[in-house]
């Protein structure tokens, strides 16, 4: 295999591994096409297996001791060749490891291999295509839900809505899945026309049906009205069909009013009042893209600050703006939910491309309103629907995390921001969500580097082309089936039919420590407490069953 050409040194003995929360250990370092493997010299059962894909940055420093030893010829370096090096490996899940390697050349080789192998961008050569856990075969259904299932299982939906296969060959919209839910009155021909009027072909589709009052959340990309105010009758008809007999609907534009004005200059824009008279447009500036990535980098940098200075910490935390982004996302989602649940009107959410903040808001709004997506299965189905199938470009967004020195391209931690917001909900309603913090942490890790194929590629089209579903395992299935399923459920879960309205006061929002400060010793105590809670419930459950 061609990985081998990137590996000059595959094995190094007498390596010292230092990682947070563990004493330094000596052992053998081994590098393969997809992994970094460290095995302890004394206790070979203690191994550290790290997916190379998880590595965000490598920092190396070598010390050529040869010069010194010739100066101080009496120096006793034993077997060591006289030079050594240190590699600091910074992972996408914010884990930082230090590896001391005897031998400068070996050190440089290893560092070079890590750098090259962790940056390979050919999807079909990534580890999920090679991952073959024992006792599993690949000939199963991939994924935990399909649009058909969703359509079938959502009661009351088929009355006014239909499942359209207009995108069956991905020709209408390359980033949409083949099957989409649209108003019954709108035929496929119209959809084709609408798709030409929306960026990337992402015409308005249904993503949530509110059983209580029949209102819906639609999502799309921006309309291409451009500078000379183009119109599209079919688009207007489609949205009119969404409103149906109701008097109005809301468009939540995830950009500021100014940004959407500016978008017209480059062919995009927003739905003007004159053509969409029944729709009330509200603008909320939900940051994404580079701004969000920079915010993430700044926050991680702040968490790594060792100056032990309170003022510095608070000002860096503020300066990162991460919590402001959390606040905006939650309050925008709250607004959407309010429109649907309280005001009793349908909502269309979009930004520009409709693949980032749009999904963020629609996911959170559903979590606030819909009890069925708060169970473990329900939440994973929601993610599969709203992120994987709906075409969030994971490959681009999660190519690098907060440590990389590489020039930023399409990276943006939108998915992570969503998980953070869900965590805030979980903190405010600790009994209402069926999954645990451990699940959110696992997802945050897996989105960046995984054994599973779930977060590979940018869309269903790409997944089909690379036969991801045929050749990899699905994370969501594994999470539901695995023996550790228990750790991903919330022992305190008590399902409620009510909406869970989050508080967005700054006092209510907290830094997601267990993610951003996961590798600090303090986190251990909090984990212990979670463990205790679980045990208490188990104990109670045992007794109660007797």
């Amino acid at each position: 295999m061609e990985f081998s050409e990137h590996i000059k040194t595959a094995n190094v003995e007498d390596v010292v591994l230092r990682q947070p929360l563990h004493p330094a250990r000596k052992g053998t370092l081994c590098i393969t096409g997809h992994h970094l493997l460290f095995s302890d010299k004394e206790d070979s059962s203690r191994q550290v297996l790290l997916l190379l894909r998880n590595i965000d940055a490598v920092e190396k420093s070598v010390e050529n001791l040869v010069g010194y030893s010739s100066l101080f010829s009496f120096a006793d370096h034993g077997e060591r060749s006289g030079s050594s090096g240190t590699i600091i490996v910074k992972c996408k899940d914010l884990h930082v490891l230090q590896i001391d390697i005897p031998g400068m050349e070996q050190c440089l080789n290893i560092a070079h291999s890590i750098e090259t192998l962790s940056n390979l961008n050919c999807v079909s050569e990534m580890y999920p295509f090679f991952y073959r856990p024992p006792n599993h075969s690949l000939d199963r259904q991939w994924g935990i839900s399909t649009p058909e299932q969703f359509f079938r299982e959502t009661e009351g939906l088929s009355f006014l809505w239909r499942l359209s296969a207009v995108n069956r060959d991905f020709s209408i919209c390359p980033s949409y899945p083949p099957l989409l839910i649209v108003p019954k009155d709108i035929d496929d021909e119209s959809l084709k026309k609408v798709s030409k009027f929306r960026q990337g072909g992402r015409f308005p589709v249904l993503c949530y049906y509110h059983r209580k009052n029949g209102m819906v959340i639609m999502r799309s990309s921006q309309p291409l009205i451009g500078a000379n105010k183009k119109r599209c009758r079919e688009d207007e008809c489609l949205l009119q069909a969404v409103i149906g007999s109701s008097d109005k609907g809301y468009i939540i534009d995830t950009r500021s009013g100014q940004q959407s004005q500016q978008a017209r200059m480059i062919g995009g824009g927003f739905e003007p009042k004159s053509c969409y008279s029944c729709w009330k447009r509200l603008h909320r500036n939900v940051e994404k893209g580079k701004t969000l990535q920079e915010s993430f980098i700044k926050l991680v940098e702040a968490c790594g600050d060792e100056s032990n200075n309170m003022d510095r910490w608070l000002s860096k935390l503020e300066n990162s703006k991460w919590l402001s982004h959390v606040q905006t996302a939650l309050s925008t989602a709250g607004l959407v939910a309010e429109c649907v649940e309280r005001d009793g009107h349908s909502v269309l959410v979009h930004g520009s491309e409709g693949t980032d903040s749009t999904l963020l808001i629609s996911t959170l709004a559903q979590l606030i309103m819909d009890p069925s997506c708060r169970s473990l299965e329900g939440f994973l189905c929601l993610l599969e629907r709203e992120w994987v199938q709906a075409g969030h470009p994971f490959q681009q967004r999660c190519f690098h995390s907060a440590y990389s020195h590489a020039r930023l391209q399409q990276e943006s931690p939108v998915f992570l921001l969503m998980l953070d917001c869900v965590w805030q909900l979980w903190r405010q309603f600790p009994l209402a969500l069926g999954f645990s913090e451990a699940l959110l942490l696992r997802l945050a890790t897996e989105a960046y580097a995984s054994n599973y194929g779930t977060f590979l590629c940018n869309s269903e089209l790409e997944r089909c082309a690379l036969q991801v579903k045929e050749n990899t395992y699905c994370l969501f299935q594994a999470l539901l089936k695995s023996v550790e399923r228990e750790i991903y459920t919330n022992p305190l879960y008590e399902s409620t039919d009510l909406a869970i309205w989050p508080s967005v006061h700054p006092q209510s929002l907290q830094l997601w420590r267990s993610f951003f400060l996961r590798w600090t010793p303090q986190n251990r105590h909090l984990e212990e407490a979670q463990e205790d809670i679980r045990n208490m419930i188990i104990e109670w459950g045992k007794l109660a069953r007797r």
Binding site: R427, F429, P502, V504, P506, H525, I533, W540, A544
Partner: protein, 639 residues
């Protein structure tokens, strides 16, 4: 009563700070001890009680809905009343200004608070926390430390307690000499003794060293402290002040120990700021808390600008230093600041919490406050603003102590027997003046006031309501519970204490409580365990009998046969669940932090509003409407 100019005003509007639409109209009554607002809406009996002693500021404020009266309370509650008639408002304002600032201790609420308790019962209340038995628990007196009678009549130091532990080798002349060389006569004396390695935490005030003064007895006193720790040949002297402040004190004939004059001491500054800095810092922080709809940036920048968390960190840093010296190095430490009743109390008590698991229990924590704060003369009357007095004496020193402990409970969720509610309740009553514990500035004051004869003790009140204050995650044998706590003081380990400073802004708190849920589960588990064991006992008894019966089976006693299977039937799961599991493991109608009846505090409780968690969100409840609108508002302001 003579201070009440107007006992009743009608058509008063109580504004809701966060959502003006939720404002209520009713009647405001002034009584000798409380302001009471009664909502006049039909059907709801909604009362808000505010103790006069909790009010720390009354002011007029012009608002959109007219001129209003704003009450700032010491428990961080903020109330805003709109009173239609200007004259009425003025009368209420003047009455409250007088009522909330009594001129003598005799006017305080604790002397008027008369629950129906017999005299002997009251004495038992006061005996509940007993410092002698606490010192005995530490293993004192012993070969190194003795109880000294020198201050029996408060003659050596009028701000010290009458019973003090001093080194065995400290003679009365040495003590007397040392006390003359220390501010307010507060000579070095024992605060905490570590049985395991003989190291001790001692406390005093600053020495009157000026630029060059020496005192042989004081030097001998420190020598005696050092000798009381036989395994160590050095003594740390921790001056909790910033170095500059200590140097400035030298000009006034005070100062700090010169390492050259005292043998085998190691001197160290800790840099905790003085009471004035702390007062201003808290004031600034509260202004941030009171912002109506701050953005995240406003809030974080405001918090940073207040410096509050920096000061909390400084106290914890100092305590960590001392706990480390005592537990790891086995070195005794003498702690002082200027007078030795503010920063010294903070640092000694926080380090005790770190060192000894006993202080992390309900009872132990009460004892600790009794010892390091009450008996050692933290000036509660001055610092907590009980009386009309010098505003420069007011400072939230005890708040900082409680917050340090809260920060520790956040880091070690399983290490403390008590919960956040316990700390908040203590805070509330330090300021409420309902109990006698925190009246006066020192033990002598309290003796003169005959506090024990005339008032009630908070400690026994807390103890009899302890079910509310138990941390369900605490287990005495947990690894976090045992031994010395080693907290991190990295800045990111400190949180803003919204439970205290935004206590009355319900909107900002989590909507469901893990703790309440766990408490129910824990209680149920215990019940189930009890039942299980009693059933087991019955089974074993019956089995014994059955066995004896089966032995006699050939005696053909038919009853035995009928009896045995019956029992097995009774032991089926259905039976257990039907008799025990009547309530599900979630908080039943979540109790509010404190009830108005017990504590005479404020708060409006109307039906579903006080339900915690999900119940709050039941469709038409005003609360969920409010929270939804909040998110809208916040979104608006962010946009």
């Amino acid at each position: 009563m003579e201070h009440i100019r107007l006992p009743k005003v009608e058509h008063v509007k109580l504004l809701d700070r966060v959502s003006p639409k939720k404002s209520r109209v009713g009647t405001l009554y002034l009584t000798a001890t409380h302001s009471i607002f009664v909502e006049s809406e039909d059907g709801v009996r909604n009362e808000t009680w505010v103790l006069h002693s909790l009010v720390c500021g009354v002011e007029k404020q012009a608002s959109a809905s007219g001129v209003s009266l704003v009450l700032h309370c010491k428990n961080f509650q903020l109330l805003q009343f709109v009173i239609p008639e200007e004259k009425d408002l003025q009368d209420i304002l003047l009455s409250l200004q007088r009522l909330s600032q009594p001129e003598s201790l005799e006017e305080l609420y604790c002397f008027a608070y008369k629950p129906n308790v017999a005299a002997e019962e009251r004495q038992r209340e006061w005996d509940f926390v007993d410092l002698r038995s606490e010192y005995k628990r530490m293993g004192l007196p012993n070969a190194h430390w003795k109880l000294s009678p020198v201050n029996q009549n408060y003659e050596v130091s009028d701000t010290y307690p009458s019973e003090l532990f001093v080194p065995e080798s400290a003679t009365p002349p040495v003590i007397a000499g040392s006390s003359k060389f220390r501010s307010r006569g507060r000579f070095p004396t024992l605060s905490y003794y570590n049985k395991d390695n003989h190291a001790a935490v001692c406390r005093s005030s600053q020495p009157l060293s000026g630029f060059s003064a020496r005192c042989l007895e004081d030097e001998q006193m420190l020598g005696a402290v050092l000798r009381s720790n036989p395994r160590s040949d050095v003594l740390y002297v921790v001056d909790t002040r910033p170095k500059l402040n200590a140097i400035a004190n030298r000009a006034a004939g005070k100062g700090y120990e010169n390492e050259d004059n005292y043998s085998n001491i190691k001197f160290q500054f800790q840099g905790i700021e003085n009471i004035h800095v702390m007062r201003n810092s808290q004031q600034k922080m509260l202004e941030v808390c009171e912002l109506r709809t701050p953005s995240v940036s406003d809030f974080l920048l405001g918090l940073e600008g207040s410096g509050w968390l920096k000061h909390i960190k400084a106290v914890l840093d100092a305590a960590v230093f001392i706990a480390k010296a005592v537990s790891e190095e086995g070195v005794s430490v003498l702690v002082h600041c200027s007078d030795g009743w503010d920063r010294t109390s903070q640092v000694c008590s926080v380090s005790s919490v770190l060192l000894d698991p006993h202080y992390r229990t309900l009872k132990g924590f009460m004892v600790l406050i009794e010892k390091d704060w009450i008996s050692f003369g933290h000036k509660f009357t001055h610092r907590c603003n009980h009386l009309l007095g010098d505003p420069k004496e007011v400072s939230p020193i005890i708040d900082q102590f409680l917050e340090c402990v809260w920060q520790l409970t956040e880091q070690f969720p399983c290490a403390f027997e008590f919960n956040e509610r316990f700390l908040i309740t203590i805070h509330h009553h330090i300021y409420s003046c309902q109990f006698g514990n925190f009246i006066g500035n020192n033990e002598r004051d309290r003796q003169q006031l005959e506090i024990e004869k005339r008032t009630h003790s908070l400690w026994s009140y807390l103890w009899s309501n302890r079910a509310e204050f138990i941390n369900p995650l605490y287990r005495p044998n947990h690894s976090q519970t045992q031994g010395v706590l080693r907290p991190s003081t990295a800045p990111y380990c400190f949180n803003f204490w919204r439970g205290l400073y935004n206590r009355f802004d319900r909107g900002v708190h989590p909507r469901q409580s893990v703790e309440d849920c766990l408490r129910t589960i824990r209680e149920e588990t215990e019940q189930l365990e009890d039942q299980l064991s009693s059933h087991k006992q019955k089974i074993s008894k019956l089995e014994e009998r059955k066995w004896s019966v089966s032995v006699n089976i050939f005696d053909k006693s038919p009853t035995a046969w009928i009896f045995a299977p019956d029992l097995r039937l009774a032991n089926t799961p259905q039976d257990y669940t039907s008799c025990v599991l009547t309530s599900s493991p979630r908080p039943a109608g979540g109790s509010p932090v404190l009830t108005p009846h017990d504590l005479n505090l404020t708060t409006s409780f109307n039906g579903s509003d006080q339900e915690s968690g999900v119940a709050d969100l039941s469709a038409p409840s005003p609360f969920s409407e409010e929270s939804a609108r909040d998110s809208d508002e916040a979104a608006n302001s962010a946009a």
